[in-house]
C-alpha cells in the first residue's frame, strides 16, 4: 500500500512537473503567436496585374518587418484569398477572415470595386481598415476607422482631376472649352463627376461629355466626334486597354487640342508606356510616383530595387512605380501604429493613425477625418522627350515631369499639346 502510495506520489510529482513544463513552454509559444493580417486580392481577372504587383510589395514589407523582429515581438503572417476581381466574392472572404481565420488586422484588396463590398463586414467588427486605391469609397459609409492610401485628397472626386484643370486654367490665353470622355465603369464615372465640377469651377464650357462601353475596339469614331467640337482641353478617364486605344486613335486621327489627358489609367504601367513610346509625348496625366528628384522619399528607391528583382518572375509591371510603393506604405502605416500603440486594439490603432503623421516610402502621410489623405497629392505629370519604346528612359528624371502640385513640381509644361 505504502509502495503504491509512494508510486502515486511519484506519479503525481511527475504529472505536476509535466503540467508546469507545459505552462512554461506555453507562455513563450503564446507570445510568439504570429500577428495575422487578412485581406482579399485580385490575383486573377481584370485587376490581377495590379493585384499581383501589390502582393509582391506587401510581401516585401512583411519580410522587412519580420527581419527586424516583427511587430510587438511577433512575426507577421498574411492570410489572403484571391477575389478574382469579382466584387461578389469579397464579403465572403472578409467574413471568413474575421470569423474562421481570426486575423488580428485586416487591410483592403485592390481597388475601389473590391473595397466597397468589404466595408459592411469590416464595419460590423469595428476593425481598422487600411484601403488600397479606393476612390471615394467612404463617401457613403462615413466609417471613422477607414484610411485610404491613394493620395487623392479629402475630396477624392474633385481633387483627383483638380490639378489637370488648375494647369489648364493657368494658361494664357486661358482655354475656354473642354471635352470629357470616359469608360462606362465605376472609377471613370467618378472621375468624370469630379472633372465636370472642376471644369465648371474653372469656367470652362463643356462641349462634349460622353462615356463609352468596354470593350471598345476602335476609338477613332470617338476621337473624331471630339475633334468636331474643337475643344481646347480634352479630359479622358479610361482603363488600360482603352487608354492605349485612345492614345493610338488620337495620334492616327491627329487630334488638335491644347491640353490632353487627366485620368488615363494604364499610362503609368511599364508595358503600355514602353509600347506606346513617343505617341505619349505631350499627354498630361495623373500619377502617384515618378522618379523625379522632388519625389525621392526615404526608402522608396531601396523598396523599388527589391520589387524590381521580384517582378519579372511574377510577370507584373517591371518598374512598379504606380501602385507597389503605396501597397508597401499602407502596411507601413498600420505596422507603425501597432508598434506605437503596443497592441492590436482597433480603436487605439484608429485613433493613432488619425492623429499622427506617418513616415512612409511615399512620403509623409496624414489623414483627413474621412480617411483620405489630408492634402491631395495626385500628381499631374507630362510625358516629355520620349524617343522610342525603351523602358530605360522611364527610369530617369525628365521623361514624366511633375507639373502639379507646386510643391513637387519638377519641370515646366510643354503647351499646347498639338505642337
Amino acid at each position: 500500500m505504502q509502495c503504491f502510495s509512494g508510486t502515486r506520489r511519484w506519479a503525481l510529482k511527475l504529472a505536476a512537473a509535466a503540467f508546469a513544463g507545459t505552462l512554461a513552454f506555453a507562455a513563450p509559444a503564446q507570445a510568439e503567436k504570429p500577428i495575422k493580417i487578412g485581406f482579399s486580392m485580385a490575383l486573377t481577372g481584370g485587376l490581377a496585374a495590379a493585384g499581383k504587383a501589390a502582393l509582391i510589395a506587401m510581401e516585401i514589407w512583411k519580410d522587412d518587418v519580420n527581419a527586424a523582429g516583427g511587430l510587438l515581438g511577433r512575426q507577421v503572417e498574411f492570410v489572403y484569398y484571391d477575389d478574382q476581381t469579382n466584387p461578389s466574392t469579397v464579403p465572403g472572404i472578409y467574413t471568413k477572415l474575421l470569423t474562421l481565420d481570426n486575423v488580428d488586422l485586416v487591410v483592403s484588396g485592390y481597388a475601389t470595386n473590391m473595397i466597397a463590398p468589404a466595408m459592411p463586414i469590416v464595419m460590423s467588427r469595428k476593425m481598422v481598415f487600411m484601403s488600397l486605391f479606393g476612390l471615394a469609397v467612404n463617401e457613403k459609409f462615413n466609417y471613422p476607422n477607414y484610411f485610404q492610401i491613394m493620395p487623392a485628397g479629402p475630396n477624392p472626386l474633385t481633387d483627383w482631376s483638380k490639378g489637370f484643370f488648375d494647369i489648364a486654367a493657368a494658361q494664357n490665353p486661358k482655354p475656354t472649352t473642354v471635352a470629357l470622355v470616359g469608360a462606362d465603369a465605376e472609377f471613370a464615372r467618378n472621375a468624370l463627376i469630379g472633372a465636370r465640377e472642376n471644369a465648371a469651377k474653372a469656367g470652362f464650357k463643356i462641349v462634349y461629355d460622353k462615356t463609352y462601353p468596354p470593350p471598345t475596339a476602335d476609338f477613332s469614331p470617338i476621337v473624331r466626334a471630339i475633334q468636331a467640337e474643337n475643344p481646347d482641353v480634352v479630359f479622358v478617364a479610361s482603363y488600360p486597354p482603352d487608354s492605349a486605344g485612345m492614345v493610338r486613335a488620337i495620334n492616327e486621327v491627329g487630334l488638335k487640342t491644347k491640353l490632353l489627358g487627366g485620368g488615363m489609367v494604364g499610362l503609368q504601367f511599364a508595358a503600355l508606356m514602353g509600347k506606346l513610346g513617343p505617341s505619349l509625348n505631350g499627354i498630361v496625366n495623373y500619377d502617384f510616383w515618378v522618379p523625379e528628384p522632388t519625389l525621392k522619399f526615404d526608402g522608396v528607391e531601396a523598396f523599388l530595387k527589391k520589387y524590381q528583382e521580384k517582378a519579372p518572375a511574377a510577370g507584373v509591371d517591371p518598374l512598379g512605380y504606380y501602385l507597389p510603393p503605396y501597397a508597401y506604405a499602407y502596411l507601413q502605416v498600420l505596422g507603425d501604429a501597432v508598434k506605437a500603440v503596443g497592441s492590436t486594439d482597433q480603436q487605439k490603432l484608429a485613433d493613432y493613425i488619425r492623429s499622427h503623421t506617418h513616415k512612409t516610402v511615399v512620403g509623409d502621410v496624414s489623414f483627413a477625418p474621412n480617411g483620405e489623405w489630408a492634402t491631395p497629392r495626385a500628381l499631374m505629370v507630362q510625358f516629355q522627350g520620349i524617343n522610342d519604346s525603351g523602358l530605360e528612359q522611364f527610369t530617369k528624371a525628365g521623361a514624366r515631369v511633375v507639373l502639379w502640385p507646386e510643391q513637387w513640381k519638377s519641370g515646366t509644361l510643354k503647351y499646347p499639346y498639338a505642337q
Partner: protein, 288 residues
C-alpha cells in the same frame, strides 16, 4: 459634317472586318457544325499571346506570326474535336455537357496564360501601327486596315475552299446530312475534325489582329463572346458571306452611333438591330 459621316462609315467597315476575322472560325464550328465553342475567344487570346512571343523574340510581323501559327492551331483544333467527339458527340451528350467542356477549356486556357505570361497587358508595336493613309477626307489607320484586309483574305480563302474542294463541300454537307455524306464516301468525323481545325486556325490569325489593335490580357476574350456569337446568328448561322456582311453592319452601326449619338449606346443599338433583324428574318441575314 460630311467628313465625320464618311469617316464614321469607313471606321465602321474596318471595325467590321476585324469582327469578321474574330467570328469566321465560329461560323464554321458553331454555325456549320453545331458545336457551341464558347472557348473560341479564349483561343483567339491564345493566338494573341503566341503572336506576342514570336514578335518579341523572333521579330516577326504580328500578322505573319498569326499566319504561321494557324497550322499549329489547326492541329490543336483536330485534337480538341477528337476529344469532344469521343466524350460527348458520339454518345449524343453534346448539347449541355459539350458546352461545359468548352467552358472548361476556356478557363484552362486563361489560367495557363496567366501562369505562363502573368497578368500584365501585352501589345505589339510595328512600323505601320500608328500610321494611317488619307483618301480624300477619309483617314484609314493601318492598325484597322490590316485586320480588315486580312479578314477579307481569310474569309475569301475559306469560302473558296468550302465551295471548290471535295472536303470543303463535305464540310458544308456534314451538318445537314451525315448519312448522305457517308454514302458519298466521306468520313463525317474526319470532315468535322478538319472543319473544326480550320475554325481554330482562324483564331490564330484573329489573335494576331487583336493584339495589333490594342493591349491584351488573358481574360479579355470573355468580353467578345456575346458580340461574335451575335454576328454568327445575324449572318445566318454558317454563311461565310453572311458573317462578313453581319460583322460590317455591326461595325458601321457601332461607329455611327459612337460618332453621332454617344459611344455608350453603340452596343445597345447594335444588339437592338440584331433583335429586329431576327424578328423579321429568324434565320438571320443569309440563313436558309
Amino acid at each position: 459634317m460630311l467628313d465625320l459621316f464618311l469617316n464614321a462609315i469607313a471606321a465602321g467597315i474596318l471595325l467590321g472586318g476585324f469582327y469578321a476575322a474574330m467570328t469566321v472560325g465560329l461560323t464554321i464550328s458553331f454555325g456549320q457544325l453545331d458545336i457551341v465553342n464558347i472557348a473560341h475567344p479564349a483561343f483567339i487570346v491564345l493566338g494573341s499571346f503566341c503572336t506576342f512571343v514570336l514578335h518579341e523574340h523572333a521579330g516577326l510581323d504580328p500578322l505573319l506570326a498569326g499566319v504561321l501559327l494557324a497550322p499549329a492551331f489547326f492541329c490543336i483544333g483536330i485534337g480538341v474535336y477528337s476529344v469532344y467527339y469521343g466524350s460527348f458527340e458520339r454518345r449524343g451528350d453534346e448539347s449541355l455537357r459539350g458546352l461545359a467542356f468548352f467552358f472548361g477549356i476556356m478557363f484552362i486556357l486563361e489560367v495557363l496564360l496567366i501562369m505562363t505570361f502573368g497578368v500584365d497587358y501585352r501589345l505589339v508595336e510595328t512600323s505601320y501601327i500608328g500610321e494611317s493613309i488619307k483618301i480624300g477626307v477619309i483617314g484609314l489607320p493601318f492598325r484597322m486596315l490590316v485586320p480588315f484586309l486580312a479578314a477579307l483574305a481569310m474569309a475569301g480563302g475559306i469560302y473558296l475552299y468550302l465551295s471548290k474542294t471535295f472536303t470543303g463541300r463535305a464540310i458544308l454537307a456534314v451538318a445537314q446530312d451525315r448519312l448522305a455524306l457517308q454514302l458519298m464516301g466521306a468520313d463525317p468525323v474526319r470532315t468535322k475534325q478538319i472543319a473544326f481545325g480550320i475554325g481554330l486556325g482562324t483564331a490564330a490569325v484573329a489573335g494576331s489582329l487583336l493584339i495589333m489593335l490594342g493591349p491584351v490580357e488573358p481574360s479579355v476574350g470573355r468580353l467578345y463572346i456575346g458580340r461574335i456569337f451575335a454576328i454568327v446568328v445575324l449572318g445566318g448561322m454558317g454563311s461565310i458571306g453572311g458573317t462578313i456582311v453581319a460583322a460590317i453592319i455591326l461595325g458601321v452601326v457601332e461607329s455611327m452611333v459612337a460618332t453621332f449619338y454617344g459611344p455608350s449606346w453603340s452596343p445597345a443599338v447594335a444588339f437592338g438591330f440584331l433583335l429586329m433583324t431576327l424578328a423579321i428574318r429568324p434565320s438571320g441575314l443569309f440563313g436558309r
